[in-house]
Protein backbone atom coordinates (compact mmCIF):
# COMPACT_ATOMS: atom_id res chain seq x y z
CA UNK A 1 0.00 0.00 0.00
CA UNK A 2 2.78 2.38 0.85
CA UNK A 3 4.14 1.97 -2.65
CA UNK A 4 0.86 2.51 -4.43
CA UNK A 5 -0.38 5.55 -2.52
CA UNK A 6 3.09 7.07 -2.55
CA UNK A 7 2.34 8.28 -6.08
CA UNK A 8 -0.65 10.27 -4.88
CA UNK A 9 1.16 11.48 -1.82
CA UNK A 10 4.23 12.77 -3.60
CA UNK A 11 2.12 14.40 -6.28
CA UNK A 12 0.33 16.44 -3.63
CA UNK A 13 3.60 17.11 -1.86
CA UNK A 14 5.01 18.73 -4.98
CA UNK A 15 2.58 21.60 -4.30
CA UNK A 16 4.83 24.55 -3.49
CA UNK A 17 4.20 25.91 -0.01
CA UNK A 18 5.08 29.48 -0.92
CA UNK A 19 3.19 32.36 0.54
CA UNK A 20 3.02 34.08 -2.84
CA UNK A 21 -0.49 33.86 -4.08
CA UNK A 22 0.66 33.45 -7.65
CA UNK A 23 -1.69 32.23 -10.30
CA UNK A 24 0.97 29.82 -11.47
CA UNK A 25 1.13 28.13 -8.07
CA UNK A 26 -2.63 27.77 -8.08
CA UNK A 27 -2.63 26.13 -11.52
CA UNK A 28 0.22 23.78 -10.57
CA UNK A 29 -1.48 22.88 -7.29
CA UNK A 30 -4.86 22.17 -8.85
CA UNK A 31 -3.19 20.24 -11.65
CA UNK A 32 -1.32 18.12 -9.13
CA UNK A 33 -4.58 17.57 -7.23
CA UNK A 34 -6.38 16.37 -10.38
CA UNK A 35 -3.51 14.00 -11.18
CA UNK A 36 -3.50 12.71 -7.59
CA UNK A 37 -7.28 12.27 -7.66
CA UNK A 38 -7.14 10.29 -10.89
CA UNK A 39 -4.16 8.23 -9.73
CA UNK A 40 -5.99 7.43 -6.51
CA UNK A 41 -9.13 6.37 -8.37
CA UNK A 42 -7.03 3.96 -10.44
CA UNK A 43 -5.69 2.33 -7.27
CA UNK A 44 -8.30 -0.49 -6.98
CA UNK A 45 -7.25 -1.74 -10.44
CA UNK A 46 -3.67 -2.38 -9.35
CA UNK A 47 -3.94 -3.21 -5.62
CA UNK A 48 -5.33 -6.34 -3.96
CA UNK A 49 -8.25 -6.38 -1.52
CA UNK A 50 -6.07 -6.44 1.60
CA UNK A 51 -4.11 -3.39 0.46
CA UNK A 52 -7.33 -1.64 -0.51
CA UNK A 53 -8.71 -2.31 2.96
CA UNK A 54 -5.69 -0.64 4.52
CA UNK A 55 -5.87 2.23 2.04
CA UNK A 56 -9.55 2.80 2.81
CA UNK A 57 -8.88 2.75 6.57
CA UNK A 58 -6.01 5.19 6.14
CA UNK A 59 -8.18 7.51 4.08
CA UNK A 60 -11.06 7.33 6.60
CA UNK A 61 -8.73 8.17 9.49
CA UNK A 62 -6.94 10.64 7.22
CA UNK A 63 -9.93 12.98 7.16
CA UNK A 64 -9.80 13.80 10.90
CA UNK A 65 -6.00 13.91 10.65
CA UNK A 66 -6.35 16.51 7.91
CA UNK A 67 -8.55 18.55 10.25
CA UNK A 68 -6.08 18.23 13.12
CA UNK A 69 -3.23 19.29 10.83
CA UNK A 70 -5.18 22.29 9.54
CA UNK A 71 -5.80 23.61 13.06
CA UNK A 72 -2.19 23.00 14.06
CA UNK A 73 -0.70 24.61 10.96
CA UNK A 74 -2.85 27.72 10.76
CA UNK A 75 -3.73 28.39 14.39
CA UNK A 76 -1.03 26.51 16.28
CA UNK A 77 -3.79 24.70 18.18
CA UNK A 78 -3.28 21.04 18.96
CA UNK A 79 -6.51 19.14 19.42
CA UNK A 80 -6.97 15.90 21.32
CA UNK A 81 -10.72 16.05 20.75
CA UNK A 82 -11.29 15.25 17.10
CA UNK A 83 -12.67 11.89 18.15
CA UNK A 84 -15.72 13.86 19.32
CA UNK A 85 -16.61 14.91 15.77
CA UNK A 86 -15.52 11.66 14.15
CA UNK A 87 -17.45 9.66 16.74
CA UNK A 88 -20.55 11.89 16.80
CA UNK A 89 -20.80 11.65 13.03
CA UNK A 90 -20.40 7.86 13.16
CA UNK A 91 -23.06 7.58 15.85
CA UNK A 92 -25.22 10.17 14.05
CA UNK A 93 -25.15 7.98 10.95
CA UNK A 94 -25.94 4.89 13.00
CA UNK A 95 -28.80 6.52 14.87
CA UNK A 96 -30.31 7.91 11.67
CA UNK A 97 -30.32 4.41 10.17
CA UNK A 98 -31.45 2.44 13.21
CA UNK A 99 -33.81 4.93 14.86
CA UNK A 100 -35.20 7.03 12.01
CA UNK A 101 -35.01 4.28 9.39
CA UNK A 102 -33.39 6.64 6.88
CA UNK A 103 -31.51 5.52 3.78
CA UNK A 104 -27.71 5.67 3.65
CA UNK A 105 -27.36 9.03 1.86
CA UNK A 106 -29.55 11.14 4.18
CA UNK A 107 -28.04 9.28 7.14
CA UNK A 108 -24.49 10.18 6.09
CA UNK A 109 -25.60 13.80 5.71
CA UNK A 110 -27.23 13.68 9.14
CA UNK A 111 -24.07 12.21 10.65
CA UNK A 112 -21.85 14.88 9.11
CA UNK A 113 -24.28 17.56 10.24
CA UNK A 114 -24.36 16.17 13.79
CA UNK A 115 -20.56 16.05 14.01
CA UNK A 116 -20.24 19.56 12.62
CA UNK A 117 -22.88 20.84 15.06
CA UNK A 118 -20.88 19.33 17.93
CA UNK A 119 -17.79 21.08 16.52
CA UNK A 120 -19.65 24.40 16.51
CA UNK A 121 -20.83 23.95 20.11
CA UNK A 122 -17.43 22.83 21.34
CA UNK A 123 -15.67 25.53 19.32
CA UNK A 124 -17.61 28.28 21.08
CA UNK A 125 -16.27 26.94 24.38
CA UNK A 126 -12.69 26.17 23.43
CA UNK A 127 -11.26 28.39 20.69
CA UNK A 128 -10.43 31.22 23.09
CA UNK A 129 -8.01 28.90 24.86
CA UNK A 130 -4.55 28.27 23.48
CA UNK A 131 -1.71 25.81 23.88
CA UNK A 132 -2.12 23.31 26.68
CA UNK A 133 -5.47 24.78 27.75
CA UNK A 134 -6.92 24.11 24.32
CA UNK A 135 -5.54 20.58 24.26
CA UNK A 136 -6.96 19.77 27.68
CA UNK A 137 -10.35 21.32 26.97
CA UNK A 138 -10.75 19.42 23.71
CA UNK A 139 -9.66 16.22 25.47
CA UNK A 140 -12.04 16.76 28.39
CA UNK A 141 -15.07 17.60 26.25
CA UNK A 142 -14.53 14.69 23.89
CA UNK A 143 -14.13 12.33 26.86
CA UNK A 144 -17.36 13.73 28.33
CA UNK A 145 -19.07 12.60 25.12
CA UNK A 146 -17.49 9.16 25.51
CA UNK A 147 -18.72 8.90 29.10
CA UNK A 148 -22.25 9.90 28.06
CA UNK A 149 -22.22 7.48 25.16
CA UNK A 150 -21.46 4.43 27.33
CA UNK A 151 -24.04 5.25 30.00
CA UNK A 152 -26.75 2.62 30.42
CA UNK A 153 -29.44 5.29 30.12
CA UNK A 154 -28.29 5.91 26.54
CA UNK A 155 -28.29 2.21 25.71
CA UNK A 156 -31.39 2.36 23.47
CA UNK A 157 -29.72 5.05 21.38
CA UNK A 158 -26.00 4.20 21.36
CA UNK A 159 -25.89 0.58 22.55
CA UNK A 160 -23.54 1.69 25.37
CA UNK A 161 -20.44 -0.56 25.55
CA UNK A 162 -21.92 -3.05 23.05
CA UNK A 163 -21.78 -0.51 20.26
CA UNK A 164 -24.29 -0.08 17.50
CA UNK A 165 -24.81 -2.51 14.64
CA UNK A 166 -26.03 -0.53 11.64
CA UNK A 167 -28.09 -2.80 9.44
CA UNK A 168 -28.85 -1.04 6.17
CA UNK A 169 -31.78 -2.54 4.27
CA UNK A 170 -30.57 -4.75 1.41
CA UNK A 171 -32.70 -2.76 -1.07
CA UNK A 172 -30.99 0.53 -0.16
CA UNK A 173 -28.06 1.90 -2.09
CA UNK A 174 -25.45 4.62 -1.65
CA UNK A 175 -24.34 6.21 -4.93
CA UNK A 176 -25.22 2.94 -6.65
CA UNK A 177 -23.42 0.74 -4.11
CA UNK A 178 -25.43 -1.87 -2.23
CA UNK A 179 -24.76 -2.41 1.51
CA UNK A 180 -22.62 -5.44 0.61
CA UNK A 181 -20.63 -3.39 -1.93
CA UNK A 182 -19.97 -0.74 0.75
CA UNK A 183 -18.04 -3.29 2.76
CA UNK A 184 -15.85 -4.20 -0.19
CA UNK A 185 -12.82 -1.91 0.15
CA UNK A 186 -12.17 -1.78 -3.60
CA UNK A 187 -15.70 -0.64 -4.38
CA UNK A 188 -15.90 1.63 -1.32
CA UNK A 189 -12.57 3.33 -2.06
CA UNK A 190 -13.86 6.14 -4.37
CA UNK A 191 -16.46 7.06 -1.71
CA UNK A 192 -13.69 8.02 0.69
CA UNK A 193 -10.89 8.96 -1.73
CA UNK A 194 -12.85 11.69 -3.50
CA UNK A 195 -13.86 13.49 -0.26
CA UNK A 196 -10.29 13.16 1.03
CA UNK A 197 -8.79 14.61 -2.15
CA UNK A 198 -11.39 17.39 -2.25
CA UNK A 199 -10.82 18.06 1.45
CA UNK A 200 -7.09 18.29 0.83
CA UNK A 201 -7.60 20.83 -1.94
CA UNK A 202 -10.10 22.73 0.19
CA UNK A 203 -7.67 22.98 3.11
CA UNK A 204 -4.90 24.02 0.73
CA UNK A 205 -7.03 26.74 -0.89
CA UNK A 206 -8.27 28.01 2.50
CA UNK A 207 -4.65 28.17 3.66
CA UNK A 208 -3.70 30.34 0.65
CA UNK A 209 -6.71 32.61 0.96
CA UNK A 210 -7.03 35.90 2.82
CA UNK A 211 -8.81 33.95 5.56
CA UNK A 212 -5.80 31.67 5.91
CA UNK A 213 -3.52 34.67 6.29
CA UNK A 214 -5.80 36.09 8.97
CA UNK A 215 -5.59 32.79 10.83
CA UNK A 216 -1.81 32.87 10.68
CA UNK A 217 -1.84 36.41 12.03
CA UNK A 218 -3.96 35.20 14.95
CA UNK A 219 -1.57 32.29 15.49
CA UNK A 220 1.44 34.59 15.62
CA UNK A 221 -0.10 37.26 17.85
CA UNK A 222 -3.76 37.18 18.69
CA UNK A 223 -3.66 40.38 20.73
CA UNK A 224 -2.01 42.40 17.98
CA UNK A 225 -4.57 41.17 15.46
CA UNK A 226 -7.33 42.30 17.78
CA UNK A 227 -5.70 45.72 18.18
CA UNK A 228 -5.40 45.95 14.40
CA UNK A 229 -9.17 45.80 14.20
CA UNK A 230 -9.64 42.14 13.33
CA UNK A 231 -12.31 40.01 14.89
CA UNK A 232 -10.25 37.08 16.11
CA UNK A 233 -13.02 34.91 17.55
CA UNK A 234 -15.08 34.29 14.40
CA UNK A 235 -12.13 33.18 12.22
CA UNK A 236 -10.92 30.82 14.91
CA UNK A 237 -14.41 29.38 15.31
CA UNK A 238 -14.79 29.03 11.54
CA UNK A 239 -11.45 27.22 11.29
CA UNK A 240 -12.41 24.94 14.15
CA UNK A 241 -15.76 24.09 12.53
CA UNK A 242 -14.08 23.40 9.17
CA UNK A 243 -11.64 21.10 10.93
CA UNK A 244 -14.51 19.40 12.75
CA UNK A 245 -16.43 19.06 9.49
CA UNK A 246 -13.54 17.13 7.92
CA UNK A 247 -13.41 14.81 10.93
CA UNK A 248 -17.20 14.35 10.77
CA UNK A 249 -17.01 13.41 7.12
CA UNK A 250 -14.47 10.75 8.05
CA UNK A 251 -16.65 9.48 10.89
CA UNK A 252 -19.88 9.19 8.88
CA UNK A 253 -18.11 7.38 6.03
CA UNK A 254 -16.33 5.16 8.56
CA UNK A 255 -19.65 4.01 9.98
CA UNK A 256 -21.05 3.55 6.47
CA UNK A 257 -18.12 1.28 5.61
CA UNK A 258 -17.97 -0.67 8.87
CA UNK A 259 -21.76 -0.93 9.43
CA UNK A 260 -20.86 -0.90 13.13
CA UNK A 261 -19.86 1.75 15.66
CA UNK A 262 -18.26 1.02 19.02
CA UNK A 263 -17.56 3.55 21.79
CA UNK A 264 -13.86 3.10 20.98
CA UNK A 265 -14.25 5.70 18.23
CA UNK A 266 -14.80 8.27 21.00
CA UNK A 267 -12.20 6.86 23.38
CA UNK A 268 -9.03 8.31 24.85
CA UNK A 269 -6.82 5.79 23.05
CA UNK A 270 -8.22 6.74 19.65
CA UNK A 271 -7.82 10.45 20.42
CA UNK A 272 -4.18 9.92 21.33
CA UNK A 273 -3.50 7.67 18.35
CA UNK A 274 -4.88 10.08 15.77
CA UNK A 275 -2.90 12.99 17.19
CA UNK A 276 0.30 10.93 17.40
CA UNK A 277 -0.12 9.70 13.84
CA UNK A 278 -0.59 13.28 12.63
CA UNK A 279 2.44 14.49 14.61
CA UNK A 280 4.70 11.66 13.46
CA UNK A 281 3.77 12.48 9.86
CA UNK A 282 4.34 16.16 10.55
CA UNK A 283 1.85 18.85 11.51
CA UNK A 284 3.77 21.51 9.62
CA UNK A 285 2.96 20.26 6.14
CA UNK A 286 -0.30 19.74 4.29
CA UNK A 287 0.15 16.00 3.72
CA UNK A 288 2.12 15.21 6.88
CA UNK A 289 -0.91 14.07 8.92
CA UNK A 290 -2.00 11.82 6.02
CA UNK A 291 1.45 10.25 5.74
CA UNK A 292 1.47 9.62 9.49
CA UNK A 293 -2.01 8.14 9.44
CA UNK A 294 -1.12 5.81 6.56
CA UNK A 295 1.97 4.67 8.47
CA UNK A 296 -0.13 4.16 11.58
CA UNK A 297 -2.73 2.05 9.78
CA UNK A 298 0.03 -0.02 8.19
CA UNK A 299 1.77 -0.46 11.53
CA UNK A 300 -1.49 -1.40 13.23
CA UNK A 301 -2.10 -4.12 10.64
CA UNK A 302 1.46 -5.43 10.96
CA UNK A 303 1.48 -5.46 14.77
CA UNK A 304 -2.06 -6.64 15.23
CA UNK A 305 -1.06 -9.93 16.84
CA UNK A 306 1.32 -8.56 19.47
CA UNK A 307 -0.98 -5.83 20.87
CA UNK A 308 2.12 -3.78 21.57
CA UNK A 309 1.12 -1.08 19.11
CA UNK A 310 1.10 1.58 21.83
CA UNK A 311 4.62 0.69 22.86
CA UNK A 312 5.80 1.61 19.37
CA UNK A 313 3.54 4.63 18.90
CA UNK A 314 4.78 5.97 22.24
CA UNK A 315 8.40 5.48 21.21
CA UNK A 316 7.72 6.98 17.77
CA UNK A 317 6.12 10.03 19.36
CA UNK A 318 9.05 10.64 21.69
CA UNK A 319 11.64 10.10 18.95
CA UNK A 320 9.84 12.52 16.65
CA UNK A 321 9.39 15.17 19.35
CA UNK A 322 12.96 14.97 20.63
CA UNK A 323 14.97 14.32 17.46
CA UNK A 324 12.80 15.09 14.43
CA UNK A 325 10.79 18.25 15.11
CA UNK A 326 8.29 18.67 12.31
CA UNK A 327 7.77 14.94 11.92
CA UNK A 328 8.68 12.86 8.90
CA UNK A 329 7.53 15.32 6.24
CA UNK A 330 9.00 18.28 8.11
CA UNK A 331 12.37 16.54 8.28
CA UNK A 332 12.22 15.61 4.60
CA UNK A 333 11.38 19.22 3.76
CA UNK A 334 14.41 20.45 5.71
CA UNK A 335 16.69 17.91 4.03
CA UNK A 336 15.33 18.89 0.62
CA UNK A 337 15.99 22.56 1.28
CA UNK A 338 19.53 21.74 2.35
CA UNK A 339 20.12 19.67 -0.81
CA UNK A 340 18.77 22.44 -3.05
CA UNK A 341 21.08 25.02 -1.49
Amino acid sequence: MTVTTAGGVTAAEAVPETRQRSRRGLVIGLGAAVVALAAGLALPYVADTYTMGLAADAALLGLPALGIGFLARHLGLISLGHTAFFGSAAYGFGIAVTQFGWGPMPSVMFGVLAGTAIALLMGVLVVRASGMGFLMLTLALSQALYQLCVQTSFRPLTGAYDGLVIGLGSDTSFLGLSPADLQDPGLFWPVVWVPLAVGLVLVWLVGRSRFGTTLEGIRENEERMRFSGYNTFAPRLAAFVLSGFLASLGGALFALNAAYVSPDVLGFARAGDSLIAAMVGGLGTLVGPLVGTALYVWGEARLNSSANLHLYTGIALIVVLVFLPGGITGTLQRLWKRVKR
Partner: protein, 284 residues
Amino acid sequence: MNAAQVLNGIALGSLLMVLSSGLAMIYGLRGVTNFAHGALYMVGAYIGYSVARHLDFWLALVLVPLALAAIGVLLEFVFFRPLQNRSHMEVGLVTFGLALIAERVVVLIWGEKTLSLDPPAGFSGTTSLLGVDYPTYRLGIIAIAIVMAAALIVWLRHTRTGLYIRAASQDIETAGIMGVDVNRISLIVVGLGAALAGLAGALAAPYISVDPSMGDKFLITVLIVVVVGGVGSVGGAMAAGMGLGVIQTVVTVWSPSVSVVVPYAALVVVLLWRPRGLAGRRTA
Protein backbone atom coordinates in the same frame (compact mmCIF):
# COMPACT_ATOMS: atom_id res chain seq x y z
CA MET B 1 -27.84 9.62 50.95
CA ASN B 2 -26.07 8.72 54.17
CA ALA B 3 -22.78 9.18 55.94
CA ALA B 4 -21.21 6.17 54.19
CA GLN B 5 -21.67 7.77 50.78
CA VAL B 6 -20.18 11.04 51.94
CA LEU B 7 -17.23 9.10 53.36
CA ASN B 8 -16.83 7.31 50.01
CA GLY B 9 -16.64 10.70 48.39
CA ILE B 10 -14.02 11.82 50.87
CA ALA B 11 -11.98 8.65 50.25
CA LEU B 12 -12.05 9.23 46.47
CA GLY B 13 -11.30 12.91 47.07
CA SER B 14 -8.30 11.92 49.22
CA LEU B 15 -6.74 9.93 46.39
CA LEU B 16 -7.41 12.76 43.94
CA MET B 17 -5.86 15.18 46.42
CA VAL B 18 -2.58 13.24 46.74
CA LEU B 19 -2.36 12.66 42.97
CA SER B 20 -3.22 16.15 41.87
CA SER B 21 -0.88 17.91 44.30
CA GLY B 22 2.12 16.26 42.62
CA LEU B 23 0.82 17.09 39.15
CA ALA B 24 0.17 20.70 40.16
CA MET B 25 3.67 21.07 41.61
CA ILE B 26 5.34 19.78 38.45
CA TYR B 27 3.13 22.01 36.34
CA GLY B 28 3.87 25.03 38.49
CA LEU B 29 7.61 24.60 38.24
CA ARG B 30 8.28 23.21 34.78
CA GLY B 31 5.11 24.46 33.09
CA VAL B 32 4.69 20.93 31.79
CA THR B 33 1.40 19.07 31.93
CA ASN B 34 2.63 15.66 32.96
CA PHE B 35 0.45 13.20 31.04
CA ALA B 36 2.55 10.42 32.55
CA HIS B 37 1.14 11.16 36.00
CA GLY B 38 -1.61 8.60 35.58
CA ALA B 39 1.01 6.09 34.48
CA LEU B 40 3.15 6.84 37.56
CA TYR B 41 0.09 6.20 39.71
CA MET B 42 -0.55 2.91 37.91
CA VAL B 43 3.10 1.82 38.21
CA GLY B 44 2.89 2.67 41.92
CA ALA B 45 -0.17 0.48 42.31
CA TYR B 46 1.53 -2.47 40.54
CA ILE B 47 4.77 -2.21 42.50
CA GLY B 48 2.70 -1.82 45.68
CA TYR B 49 0.77 -4.95 44.75
CA SER B 50 3.95 -6.98 44.28
CA VAL B 51 5.62 -5.70 47.45
CA ALA B 52 2.48 -6.29 49.51
CA ARG B 53 2.11 -9.81 48.09
CA HIS B 54 5.69 -10.88 48.69
CA LEU B 55 6.75 -8.76 51.66
CA ASP B 56 4.41 -6.51 53.56
CA PHE B 57 1.81 -3.83 52.78
CA TRP B 58 3.28 -1.26 55.17
CA LEU B 59 6.67 -1.75 53.58
CA ALA B 60 5.02 -1.04 50.22
CA LEU B 61 3.87 2.36 51.46
CA VAL B 62 7.55 3.21 52.05
CA LEU B 63 9.19 1.41 49.11
CA VAL B 64 6.75 2.52 46.42
CA PRO B 65 7.23 6.28 46.93
CA LEU B 66 11.00 5.69 47.01
CA ALA B 67 10.92 3.68 43.78
CA LEU B 68 8.68 6.25 42.11
CA ALA B 69 10.88 9.11 43.31
CA ALA B 70 13.77 7.35 41.55
CA ILE B 71 11.67 7.18 38.38
CA GLY B 72 10.86 10.88 38.81
CA VAL B 73 14.56 11.73 39.12
CA LEU B 74 15.18 9.75 35.95
CA LEU B 75 12.40 11.67 34.16
CA GLU B 76 13.93 14.96 35.25
CA PHE B 77 17.43 14.04 34.07
CA VAL B 78 16.43 12.36 30.80
CA PHE B 79 13.50 14.51 29.65
CA PHE B 80 12.53 17.60 31.64
CA ARG B 81 16.00 19.09 32.08
CA PRO B 82 17.41 18.52 28.56
CA LEU B 83 14.13 19.70 27.04
CA GLN B 84 13.54 22.69 29.29
CA ASN B 85 14.08 25.16 26.47
CA ARG B 86 11.62 23.44 24.16
CA SER B 87 7.94 24.42 24.15
CA HIS B 88 5.92 23.13 27.10
CA MET B 89 3.53 21.61 24.60
CA GLU B 90 6.23 19.37 23.14
CA VAL B 91 7.44 18.23 26.54
CA GLY B 92 3.83 17.55 27.56
CA LEU B 93 3.38 15.36 24.50
CA VAL B 94 6.63 13.54 25.30
CA THR B 95 5.09 12.57 28.65
CA PHE B 96 2.03 11.41 26.71
CA GLY B 97 4.29 9.04 24.80
CA LEU B 98 5.89 7.91 28.07
CA ALA B 99 2.44 7.09 29.46
CA LEU B 100 1.69 4.86 26.45
CA ILE B 101 5.01 3.05 26.85
CA ALA B 102 4.57 2.61 30.62
CA GLU B 103 1.15 1.05 30.14
CA ARG B 104 2.47 -1.57 27.74
CA VAL B 105 5.53 -2.28 29.88
CA VAL B 106 3.26 -2.90 32.88
CA VAL B 107 1.18 -5.32 30.80
CA LEU B 108 4.35 -7.13 29.68
CA ILE B 109 5.50 -7.55 33.30
CA TRP B 110 2.27 -8.11 35.22
CA GLY B 111 -0.11 -9.19 32.48
CA GLU B 112 -3.42 -7.79 31.32
CA LYS B 113 -5.50 -9.30 34.13
CA THR B 114 -7.14 -7.23 36.83
CA LEU B 115 -5.35 -7.84 40.13
CA SER B 116 -6.85 -7.40 43.55
CA LEU B 117 -5.19 -6.94 46.89
CA ASP B 118 -6.65 -7.41 50.36
CA PRO B 119 -6.34 -4.56 52.85
CA PRO B 120 -3.58 -5.14 55.44
CA ALA B 121 -4.29 -7.00 58.68
CA GLY B 122 -6.23 -4.88 61.16
CA PHE B 123 -7.71 -2.76 58.37
CA SER B 124 -9.87 -5.37 56.68
CA GLY B 125 -12.98 -4.94 58.84
CA THR B 126 -15.33 -2.05 59.43
CA THR B 127 -15.36 0.71 62.00
CA SER B 128 -18.48 2.28 63.41
CA LEU B 129 -18.47 5.98 62.64
CA LEU B 130 -21.30 8.53 62.64
CA GLY B 131 -23.78 5.69 63.08
CA VAL B 132 -22.63 3.64 60.08
CA ASP B 133 -20.22 0.74 59.75
CA TYR B 134 -17.55 1.91 57.36
CA PRO B 135 -14.58 -0.05 55.90
CA THR B 136 -11.60 0.71 58.12
CA TYR B 137 -9.14 0.72 55.21
CA ARG B 138 -10.91 3.63 53.52
CA LEU B 139 -10.75 5.58 56.76
CA GLY B 140 -7.02 4.79 56.75
CA ILE B 141 -6.68 6.25 53.23
CA ILE B 142 -8.48 9.40 54.31
CA ALA B 143 -6.24 9.79 57.37
CA ILE B 144 -2.99 9.22 55.45
CA ALA B 145 -4.04 11.58 52.66
CA ILE B 146 -5.01 14.36 55.04
CA VAL B 147 -1.74 14.04 56.97
CA MET B 148 0.22 14.08 53.69
CA ALA B 149 -1.65 17.11 52.42
CA ALA B 150 -1.15 19.05 55.64
CA ALA B 151 2.54 18.13 55.75
CA LEU B 152 3.01 19.22 52.16
CA ILE B 153 1.37 22.59 52.70
CA VAL B 154 3.36 23.22 55.90
CA TRP B 155 6.55 22.21 54.10
CA LEU B 156 5.81 24.54 51.15
CA ARG B 157 4.93 27.46 53.43
CA HIS B 158 7.44 27.20 56.24
CA THR B 159 10.70 25.76 54.97
CA ARG B 160 13.46 27.29 52.89
CA THR B 161 13.06 24.68 50.14
CA GLY B 162 9.33 25.37 50.14
CA LEU B 163 10.04 29.07 49.75
CA TYR B 164 12.34 28.32 46.80
CA ILE B 165 9.67 26.13 45.19
CA ARG B 166 7.07 28.86 45.52
CA ALA B 167 9.51 31.43 44.15
CA ALA B 168 10.51 29.26 41.19
CA SER B 169 6.85 28.48 40.43
CA GLN B 170 6.05 32.19 40.38
CA ASP B 171 8.90 33.05 37.99
CA ILE B 172 11.59 30.50 37.33
CA GLU B 173 14.01 32.94 35.64
CA THR B 174 13.91 35.56 38.36
CA ALA B 175 14.27 32.88 41.01
CA GLY B 176 17.35 31.63 39.17
CA ILE B 177 18.83 35.15 38.98
CA MET B 178 18.24 35.60 42.71
CA GLY B 179 20.46 32.60 43.38
CA VAL B 180 17.94 29.77 43.73
CA ASP B 181 19.39 26.56 42.31
CA VAL B 182 16.45 25.95 39.97
CA ASN B 183 17.72 22.60 38.73
CA ARG B 184 17.94 21.26 42.27
CA ILE B 185 14.46 22.57 43.08
CA SER B 186 13.08 20.99 39.94
CA LEU B 187 14.70 17.66 40.82
CA ILE B 188 13.06 17.75 44.26
CA VAL B 189 9.66 18.70 42.84
CA VAL B 190 9.58 16.10 40.08
CA GLY B 191 10.87 13.40 42.45
CA LEU B 192 8.33 14.33 45.11
CA GLY B 193 5.51 14.60 42.57
CA ALA B 194 6.26 11.12 41.25
CA ALA B 195 6.56 9.76 44.81
CA LEU B 196 3.13 11.19 45.68
CA ALA B 197 1.64 9.61 42.55
CA GLY B 198 3.19 6.29 43.58
CA LEU B 199 1.84 6.64 47.12
CA ALA B 200 -1.63 7.28 45.73
CA GLY B 201 -1.28 4.15 43.59
CA ALA B 202 -0.12 1.99 46.50
CA LEU B 203 -2.97 3.30 48.66
CA ALA B 204 -5.47 2.68 45.88
CA ALA B 205 -4.36 -0.93 45.22
CA PRO B 206 -6.50 -2.55 47.97
CA TYR B 207 -9.33 -0.02 47.42
CA ILE B 208 -9.77 0.09 43.64
CA SER B 209 -8.73 -2.98 41.63
CA VAL B 210 -5.36 -2.82 39.87
CA ASP B 211 -5.51 -2.93 36.07
CA PRO B 212 -3.53 -1.38 33.20
CA SER B 213 -6.20 1.19 32.37
CA MET B 214 -6.43 2.58 35.93
CA GLY B 215 -3.98 5.35 35.05
CA ASP B 216 -5.96 6.60 32.07
CA LYS B 217 -9.18 6.54 34.04
CA PHE B 218 -7.76 8.81 36.70
CA LEU B 219 -5.53 10.94 34.48
CA ILE B 220 -8.31 12.93 32.88
CA THR B 221 -10.03 13.58 36.21
CA VAL B 222 -6.75 14.65 37.78
CA LEU B 223 -5.94 16.96 34.86
CA ILE B 224 -9.37 18.51 35.31
CA VAL B 225 -8.79 18.86 39.06
CA VAL B 226 -5.52 20.69 38.47
CA VAL B 227 -7.06 23.08 35.94
CA VAL B 228 -10.11 23.71 38.12
CA GLY B 229 -7.94 24.30 41.18
CA GLY B 230 -5.74 26.79 39.36
CA VAL B 231 -2.87 25.45 37.28
CA GLY B 232 0.23 25.22 39.41
CA SER B 233 -1.56 25.77 42.70
CA VAL B 234 -1.06 22.89 45.12
CA GLY B 235 -3.62 24.11 47.62
CA GLY B 236 -6.16 24.80 44.87
CA ALA B 237 -5.62 21.34 43.39
CA MET B 238 -6.11 19.70 46.80
CA ALA B 239 -9.32 21.61 47.46
CA ALA B 240 -10.63 20.92 43.96
CA GLY B 241 -9.69 17.22 44.23
CA MET B 242 -11.51 16.76 47.49
CA GLY B 243 -14.49 18.81 46.30
CA LEU B 244 -14.80 16.92 43.03
CA GLY B 245 -14.46 13.54 44.77
CA VAL B 246 -17.29 14.33 47.18
CA ILE B 247 -19.58 15.97 44.62
CA GLN B 248 -19.13 13.17 42.09
CA THR B 249 -19.80 10.42 44.62
CA VAL B 250 -22.84 12.17 46.03
CA VAL B 251 -24.27 12.85 42.57
CA THR B 252 -23.73 9.17 41.65
CA VAL B 253 -26.26 8.20 44.30
CA TRP B 254 -28.76 10.52 42.74
CA SER B 255 -28.05 9.82 39.04
CA PRO B 256 -25.04 7.86 37.70
CA SER B 257 -25.45 9.33 34.22
CA VAL B 258 -25.20 12.88 35.50
CA SER B 259 -22.28 12.10 37.80
CA VAL B 260 -19.90 11.05 34.99
CA VAL B 261 -20.31 14.48 33.41
CA VAL B 262 -19.69 16.37 36.68
CA PRO B 263 -15.90 16.79 36.26
CA TYR B 264 -16.25 17.95 32.66
CA ALA B 265 -19.05 20.35 33.49
CA ALA B 266 -16.98 21.70 36.41
CA LEU B 267 -14.06 22.25 34.04
CA VAL B 268 -16.12 24.18 31.50
CA VAL B 269 -17.86 26.29 34.14
CA VAL B 270 -14.63 27.17 35.94
CA LEU B 271 -12.74 28.00 32.75
CA LEU B 272 -15.51 30.23 31.49
CA TRP B 273 -16.05 31.92 34.84
CA ARG B 274 -12.47 32.02 36.20
CA PRO B 275 -10.03 31.08 33.41
CA ARG B 276 -7.09 30.90 35.83
CA GLY B 277 -8.81 28.36 38.07
CA LEU B 278 -10.28 28.77 41.52
CA ALA B 279 -7.01 29.61 43.28
CA GLY B 280 -5.38 31.67 40.53
CA ARG B 281 -1.59 31.59 40.63
CA ARG B 282 -0.91 31.03 44.32
CA THR B 283 1.33 28.02 44.75
CA ALA B 284 0.41 26.99 48.28
